[in-house]
Symmetry: C2
Subunit: 200 residues, 2 copies
Amino acid sequence: MRPQLDFWYEFASTYSYLAALRIEAQAKERNMDIAWRPFLLGPIFKAQGWATSPFNLYPAKGAYMWRDLERLCDVQGLKFRKPDPFPQSSLTAARIALTDEVAPQRAEFSRRVYLAEFAEGARIDDDAVLEAVVDSIGLDGEAVLEAARSDAVKLRLRQATEEATRLNLFGAPSFVTPDGEVFWGNDRLEMALSWAGRRP
Amino acid sequence: MRPQLDFWYEFASTYSYLAALRIEAQAKERNMDIAWRPFLLGPIFKAQGWATSPFNLYPAKGAYMWRDLERLCDVQGLKFRKPDPFPQSSLTAARIALTDEVAPQRAEFSRRVYLAEFAEGARIDDDAVLEAVVDSIGLDGEAVLEAARSDAVKLRLRQATEEATRLNLFGAPSFVTPDGEVFWGNDRLEMALSWAGRRP
């Protein structure tokens, strides 16, 4: 059995973009597998009294985050455009990621959504944008969007978000090891991989 | 001229403990100088509506932080005890750090305060604890505490905190380069040093 790490991400999250675009290379170096776990931060923020992203609620922190992201994208060789509006509504993207059709290519779908959103400036709450991303990985965008609207898929996303809440996740990206250790933030990716990869 | 980095720290801040205990070794490797800049986060938190540390206001984030800190102290080879209460009142420690007497040894004084607080579990709002720290670096603790109560020193700390506000600092540790680039968090120390050390 190869060691595994759960990668919890939110499509609207800026630092999840950075993690999504580098996690597979980092895992490959260590012969590890990544389980891609999309969830919604909105309900978790709401439960602690936040109606929007803390980066909007606290302007100094928000202004810093945009500058920090710009610098980190530079280092990582990623293009960056500030999404407008921010945060984007990520509900449909997360549901699509959880369809049976997309599941085998969830990582690639997710990376392309992040690139559309943060490199190209596209709106991920626009069905046409998401259909085009699904088409681009060789699936039928229209059919997959239809599947994403099913009760079964809606339930899957609700359950994922409930599991995130049970794990006490409060931000994204978060990484959870098989022994239940939680690491928060793109900055902790390497530490999380090392932890999950330790021989008992 | 050796490159310089401003290290903004708050004595009650957990991640400032980690940064304070490793910044000089990191700077020495790069032939750089560190300006130690104590300030108070309390007034900055208050201005955005927080009456205490966000780690107390948001319990999931707080619980995570204590675990994260424990893991990071392990990696860094530092002892760790959770201060009680948290956050400690850091007013007197910050004033002492800004006295003329302590200024030439501000780094060593600050490290010893952090160790008393986070490794030994001592209360840094206790004058006797702070006097002992000052004594331990070869100064007269009683006289320095007296100096720390002077209007001149109180003003210095107020001005430092005002400068932090002007720089839009919102957390600690923060690092500021001579060209005004701000980096927040112990995780950004290496990036801040690299930025400040770049040849123009």
